[in-house]
């Protein structure tokens, strides 16, 4: 044994040093036994000597393979304390045979003093020089106590967090007196993994652990060591750390609750309103969709395919008038606005007044009192003033009548009705007869039936404007013929006219600005336009073959006949009488001088030199000054 042990020790030291494990003096006996080959019988030896607080220590021994020495009392422990050269071996002060342990209390423990341990049998002494140590080198501190953790923060992404772990030093270590200084090593791992993550040894009683993951459970434990020594104590009891996503959930729960409650309240309110049938509220919450409703007419008739019945009703057939006998539908629907089909009396409308056509309003004329109308068109359709459209009287079932056809156009926006109206319009030109709606009373003629857009067909000396609607004009044939004659004659005259005459007639002529602007000119019109600078009459192409001049005579026969005009014209000049001059002849030379005479038009706008503008301006404003 004595021969083999030094070489064995050398080998072991080499091995351990290669493993970067620095052997400390006094702990060599721990190594020896682990690497001993099993061939040699294992003699009794000390397994370990440990001090917990650097004040006491205890040693454990083992009988080895000598089982006959395992009984208590067969082996005795002796120690040597090298305080002086004359020290002697002494027996263990305190045996604990159940553990095969020898305990050295405070009185028998000296620090920085070498101890050597020895096992003695009856006649045999088992001693190993490696079993010598000093107490400070065998200190393994107890584990810390009172482990706790606090959450430091959570990362902005909500995926990781940091904790601070706190603990107390082991109670057995007298840290307060400064007798022991302790370093701590914290280790942690995920719950069901095997590898521990070790943090750096540090002397403070707290440790920050960074980068833990939300939702995972972590296990942590801590062990102690004396600084500048290598032996660690036992690990403490583990603590478990887990942080779930509760904080974020708590903030979203109230939001969802509030949303759900809000929606429920709104639904309940709506149901209450609907159930109690508060009409006013219902109108606010569920506004009615306007439907075609004519007083006295069932909305069923307005559907496709029932136009004949509708027209029958509208023309007053059968019952002799709509408003009187027709059943009053929609009586109980107060928000229904009715279209007044009967426009005979100016004030017969129950809901809306009969309004004058735009022509009448422009001319400032009274409402048409009576007119030679067929019964079909006696019921002039009058619309509420706010409606921009106007309808013309139409009666497709009475093609042989000379009277105007009033077209029953309903409120715009009804697809079914528009089809009907289009049909009506197409049929209007087919009828060869048109009659001019004239009033018996004096005064300028007034239009009853006008189109949506009217063109100014004539400007009267009195300053009134005569409008000619686009398509559905009705003019008496007699007047047509005369008109054309005079028109042609006029055209012949115009070619010879001097400039001044032209100037005169300009006042009373309609001016076509842009022949190609309107799409209604026919070949004849084009010829006229090209040869004469005069305005060319334009009329709807469809009506051209009907020998109709789409304009209306002004009141006096001396009114000049005018060339067909376009639907839209531009007001170019304003004469001294404040009449609209729609297109002066482009070849007209500038006036030699600006005189305040009636014959010569005042100088206006950009067509005349500025000097004239100033003069004319004076002229114009002079009356006002007076």
């Amino acid at each position: 044994m004595a021969d083999s042990s030094p070489s064995t020790n050398l080998l072991l030291l080499l091995l351990i040093s290669s493993l970067d494990w620095l052997p400390t003096p006094g702990s060599a006996f721990l190594i020896d036994r682990d690497h001993m080959t099993s061939s040699a019988p294992l003699e009794p030896h000390f397994t370990e000597c440990i001090s917990r607080e650097q004040e006491t220590f205890r040693c454990w021994w083992s009988p080895g393979s000598y089982h006959n020495l395992s009984s208590s009392g067969a082996l005795r422990v002796f120690y040597l304390k090298k305080e002086s050269p004359t020290s002697e071996w002494k027996e263990c002060p305190e045996y604990i045979h159940s553990n095969r342990e020898c305990f050295f209390d405070v009185n028998h423990t000296s620090i920085w003093v070498p101890y050597c341990m020895q096992l003695r049998g009856e006649n045999v002494t088992y001693f190993n020089e490696d079993d010598c140590f000093t107490v400070e080198n065998i200190v393994r501190p107890d584990p810390p106590v009172s482990l706790s953790w606090t959450l430091l923060n959570i990362s902005p992404s909500g995926l990781s967090y940091d904790v601070m772990v706190n603990w107390e030093p082991p109670p057995s270590a007298d840290v307060d007196a400064g007798w022991m200084r302790i370093e701590y090593e914290t280790q942690y791992r995920e719950r069901n993994t095997t590898n521990w993550e070790a943090l750096e040894v540090q002397p403070h009683t707290q440790q920050t652990v960074y980068g833990l993951h939300i939702g995972k459970e972590y296990e942590m434990h801590i062990r102690c060591r004396m600084p500048a020594f290598t032996k660690f104590g036992e690990f403490s009891d583990s603590i478990f750390i887990e942080v779930t996503e509760i904080p974020t959930k708590e903030s979203t729960i109230p939001l969802t609750l509030i949303l759900v409650l809000g929606i429920l309240c709104i639904l309940i309110l709506i149901m209450l309103v609907v159930l109690t049938q508060q009409h006013r509220l219902m109108m606010v919450l569920l506004p009615p969709v306007p439907a075609p409703k004519i007083k006295g007419i069932d909305s069923e008739l307005l559907k496709k395919g029932k136009l004949d019945e509708l027209n029958f009703i509208l023309t007053g057939g059968g019952m002799g008038g709509l408003p009187t006998y027709a059943p009053d539908f929609y009586q109980d629907e107060p928000w229904v606005e009715f279209i007044e089909v009967d426009g005979e009396d100016g004030d017969s409308g129950e809901k809306e007044d009969n309004r004058a056509s735009d022509t009448q309003r422009l001319l400032g004329l009274p409402h048409p009192v009576s007119h030679h109308m067929n019964m079909g068109c006696s019921n002039a359709i009058s619309f509420p003033d706010d409606d921009s459209g106007r309808a013309s009287c139409y009666d497709p079932d009475l093609p042989d009548q000379d009277t105007l056809m009033l077209m029953a156009t309903l409120l715009p926006g009804q697809p079914e009705d528009e089809e009907a109206s289009f049909d009506v319009e197409e049929r209007a030109p087919a009828s060869s007869e048109r009659s001019l709606v004239q009033t018996q009373t004096g005064g300028p003629q007034t239009w009853v039936n006008t189109d949506f857009y009217a063109q100014v067909s004539n400007v009267m000396p009195s300053g009134g404007v005569v409008l000619s609607p686009g398509q559905q004009l009705r003019i008496q044939e007699s007047t047509l013929a005369t008109e054309e004659e005079t028109q042609k004659g006029k055209e012949g005259e115009e070619s010879k006219e001097t400039e001044e005459e032209k100037q005169k007639e300009l006042q009373f002529q309609l001016l076509v600005v842009d022949p190609e602007g309107s799409g209604y000119t026919t070949e004849s019109n084009v010829r006229q336009i090209s040869t004469h600078p005069q305005p060319v009459e334009t009329k709807p192409a469809a009506t051209m073959e009907d020998n109709q001049s789409p304009y209306i005579h002004p009141d006096s026969p001396q009114s000049q006949f005018f060339a067909p005009v376009a639907d839209y014209t531009v007001v170019q000049e304003l004469d001294s009488h404040h009449s609209l001059l729609l297109n002066p002849p482009p070849a007209s030379p500038p006036l030699p001088a600006c005189h305040s005479t009636l014959s010569k038009p005042p100088c206006l706008w950009a067509t005349l030199p500025p000097t004239c503008w100033g003069t004319s301006h004076r002229e114009v404003t002079m009356p006002s000054d007076l």
Binding site: V175, D176, W179, A228
Partner: protein
């Protein structure tokens, strides 16, 4: 070298701090400065012990002693003649002046041997530069630590914590004049072992002293 320089700087600072800052007889100020001084000294003693431990382990690695040297009964450190308390209670029972004296004695006793150890290490080619630097650092640290402890003693004497009986350590070499030749007989390895043990003693004694005199500041 850096460590010794830092120690020197700190000790100089303490010298500067001690006198002017607490010229008025405020007990709290003085106690705080004393506690700070203690902390610095204890830090350096810990550092010194660490270096000695490293050197000792390294020495064992390089030279691989055949057996545990501690078993050699004949080994005797040259500072064994200095009576040192070998337990906590013994150290606590010892008077402050005695304990301070023990510390100073130990530090004084190791100044020359460490210097010579460093000199011998420098000539050993199988000892790397790292260890050579450490031995030099160690000897410097012992020197500076002694100065620091002396300052602590002076401050304690100024505060009246300890009596003036410690002042006769101005010439510490007188104590070991008779024993000065012993350490020449020690082997390097034994020297390292002994110094490692003594540096641990110094560290412990300083800590006990601090926690006895100024316990409220970090014990």
């Amino acid at each position: 070298m850096r460590q010794s320089a830092r120690l020197q700087t700190i000790l100089d600072l303490t010298a500067v701090d001690a006198a002017p800052l607490c010229t008025n007889a405020q007990a709290g100020c003085h106690v705080l400065s004393l506690a700070n001084l203690f902390d610095r000294v204890i830090q350096h003693s810990a550092r010194m012990h660490g270096i000695s431990n490293d050197l000792h382990s390294e020495f064992e690695l390089y030279f691989l002693p055949s057996k545990n040297q501690i078993g050699r009964v004949s080994r005797n450190c040259h500072t064994s003649s200095i009576l040192t308390p070998n337990g906590k209670e013994n150290a606590q029972r010892m008077a402050r002046e005695e304990l301070t004296e023990v510390i100073l004695k130990l530090l004084v006793a190791w100044r020359d041997p460490l210097w010579h150890f460093h000199q011998s290490m420098a000539h050993h080619h199988d000892f790397n530069n790292f260890s050579s630097n450490k031995s030099l650092e160690m000897s410097d640290m012992v020197h500076e630590l002694r100065k620091g402890v002396q300052k602590v003693v002076e401050k304690m004497q100024m505060l009246g914590i300890i009596s003036n009986s410690v002042s006769n350590l101005a010439s510490p070499e007188a104590l070991l004049a008779s024993d000065s030749a012993e350490w020449r007989l020690m082997k390097d390895y034994d020297l390292l072992y002994c110094f490692r043990r003594d540096s641990n003693k110094v560290q412990n004694y300083l800590k006990i002293l601090k926690c006895r005199i100024v316990p409220e500041h970090g014990c």
